[in-house]
């Protein structure tokens, strides 16, 4: 494994975990509920999109053949779809307030980027 990539993983994954816990605390949601919710959210969102990739136009092969400009447009749409569907199903299953937990997801993801991007930049800047 390349050292720089290990560094990114080492920063971004704990940053995501800490962001979920911090956002949950700020919103008055218990850490357990937030952890279980985020786990199910990611699983269900990904699983639903994975099911959609059985449609030929949305298959992984088709997505891989898109040019970078198209990918940059399409991927945020897919990401939003995964986020919304994952949040919807996870909140229904756990009997939680959909909008409140959508806010939690968005806050946790924003916080992850806010923490990890500057840290990664710093590390990569000073890395020989």
């Amino acid at each position: 494994m390349e050292e720089s990539e290990t560094i990114v993983s080492a920063i971004a994954l704990p940053a995501l975990l800490l962001s979920v816990l911090a956002a949950a605390r700020l919103m008055g949601i218990s850490k357990r509920t937030a952890s279980i919710f985020m786990t199910l959210n990611a699983t269900i969102g990904l699983a639903i999109f994975s099911a959609l990739t059985t449609i030929p136009q949305l298959s992984i092969q088709a997505l891989n053949t898109l040019n970078p400009e198209e990918v940059v447009v399409i991927m945020p749409l897919i990401f939003t779809f995964e986020l919304l569907s994952g949040t919807y199903f996870a909140s229904r299953i756990l009997e939680l307030d959909y909008l409140r937990f959508l806010k939690l997801t968005l806050a946790a993801l924003s916080l992850t980027l806010a923490i990890s991007v500057p840290l990664c930049l710093l590390v990569l800047l000073f890395k020989p």
Partner: protein, 374 residues
């Protein structure tokens, strides 16, 4: 302990024989030889070499295929020695091993499902026995053998009384056996246990004690059972270095495959002022938004899972009990392969997701059937 009579033994024998026969038929009549290369050549060879090395005290043989732990390969060697005189080739013996443990996993799915009711146990068993992924990849000996022990470990965890440490310790030791077959078992089972304890609202202290007990006992068995982790003074070389060197094959190449869904960040930041930035940015999509295993293309279980989710969401019913635990077990495996195995995801890794999917789907079907009858 409850006694099992003759009929009970016969019943369990049937539960084993049916999935074993299907897998055996696929492995010996339909599957090309070899089917999974180089694994089917490598593991029987490595297993025999390990046995010879252990017999002669030459531990350097464990440097062969050191990236994978030795137990499943030793079991393959055992099957080779037992079945060789009956006319089975090395690949044949490895396939019998895979069919055997895959059929035992079906039996475990029955036992886990039966904790709710016999009907749920039977349906879990039927769904897993007939699952195309589990049948097709029963020949993936390392994964299938490890999955059996991992499922047994989860079964013990589900049976464990909150105040008793014995079953947690036993579950940890069985997890050690699973990890000695394939390292993936360790994070998946521990992840599942953590999620189940979190979901069950177990207080922090007892929960962390149970997780530590399972983690520690399995680690002890892993270290004792894998000569590569023994002190260099004992085996004559640094086994850990050999393990690291062998594992370094599983790296990120210059092609830019992401290791984790968040690794798209690094090339983007490195190339932010070059024309390549856009290309690297596109890796965000490839790296983080698609699942590495085509689970929906090759099995009906993920579709049943999806249908169950839709049904749950429509009814807004709270998920509890074994169905909830099996969903968390599935999540642990699913996210592990998404997060960490992305760069090296082989299609046969899907077998890890099938037992919890079968149990979850069986619960959902029975639930829907009950609701429809009312």
């Amino acid at each position: 302990m409850r006694k099992i009579g003759f009929l009970g033994v016969f019943f369990f024998f049937l539960l084993f024989t049916f999935p074993f026969s299907i897998r055996f038929f696929w492995a010996f009549s339909l599957a090309p030889v070899p089917y999974l290369t180089p694994d089917e050549f490598l593991y029987p060879f490595a297993g025999k070499l390990y046995i010879q090395g252990l017999a002669s005290g030459n531990f350097s043989v464990f440097k062969v295929n050191a990236e994978h732990p030795p137990l499943s390969k030793l079991i393959t060697a055992l099957f080779t020695f037992l079945l060789g005189p009956l006319g089975f080739s090395d690949i044949g013996a490895l396939r019998v091993q895979g069919c055997f443990f895959s059929a035992l996993t079906c039996l475990l799915a029955y036992s886990i499902g039966s904790r709710v009711g016999r009907r749920m146990g039977m349906l879990s068993w039927v769904l897993l026995s007939l699952d195309p992924v589990s049948i097709r990849f029963a020949v993936a000996s390392l994964d299938v053998t490890s999955l059996f022990f991992a499922s047994l470990s989860i079964y013990m965890l589900l049976r464990a009384h909150p105040n008793s440490c014995r079953l947690y310790l036993l579950s940890g030791l069985i997890l050690g056996l699973a990890t000695l077959c394939k390292y993936s078992a360790y994070p998946i089972v521990l992840g599942a246990l953590t999620l189940i304890l979190l979901g069950g609202r177990t207080p922090f202290r007892p929960a962390s004690l149970r997780i530590s007990l399972v983690a520690a006992s399995s680690l002890v068995l892993l270290v004792l059972g894998n000569p590569l982790f023994w002190p260099p003074q004992l085996i004559g070389f640094s086994g850990y270095s050999a393990f690291l060197e062998a594992s370094s094959r599983y790296t990120i190449g210059p092609g830019g495959i992401c290791l984790t869904p968040l690794d798209w960040l690094e090339p983007v930041l490195k190339a932010w002022n070059t024309p390549h930035a856009l290309l690297y940015l596109s890796m965000f999509g490839l790296g983080s938004l698609t699942y590495p295993l085509p689970i929906f293309q090759s099995s009906y279980l993920p579709w049943l899972f999806l249908a169950s989710l839709l049904q749950l969401a429509r009814r807004k019913a709270r998920l509890e009990g074994l169905r909830f635990k099996s969903l968390l077990w599935f999540s642990a495996g699913f996210l592990f392969f998404w997060l960490l195995a992305k760069s090296q995801a082989e299609p046969y890794y899907s077998v890890w997701l099938q037992p919890p999917l079968a149990i979850f789907s069986a619960g959902s079907i029975i639930d829907a059937w009950r609701k429809a009858r009312r």
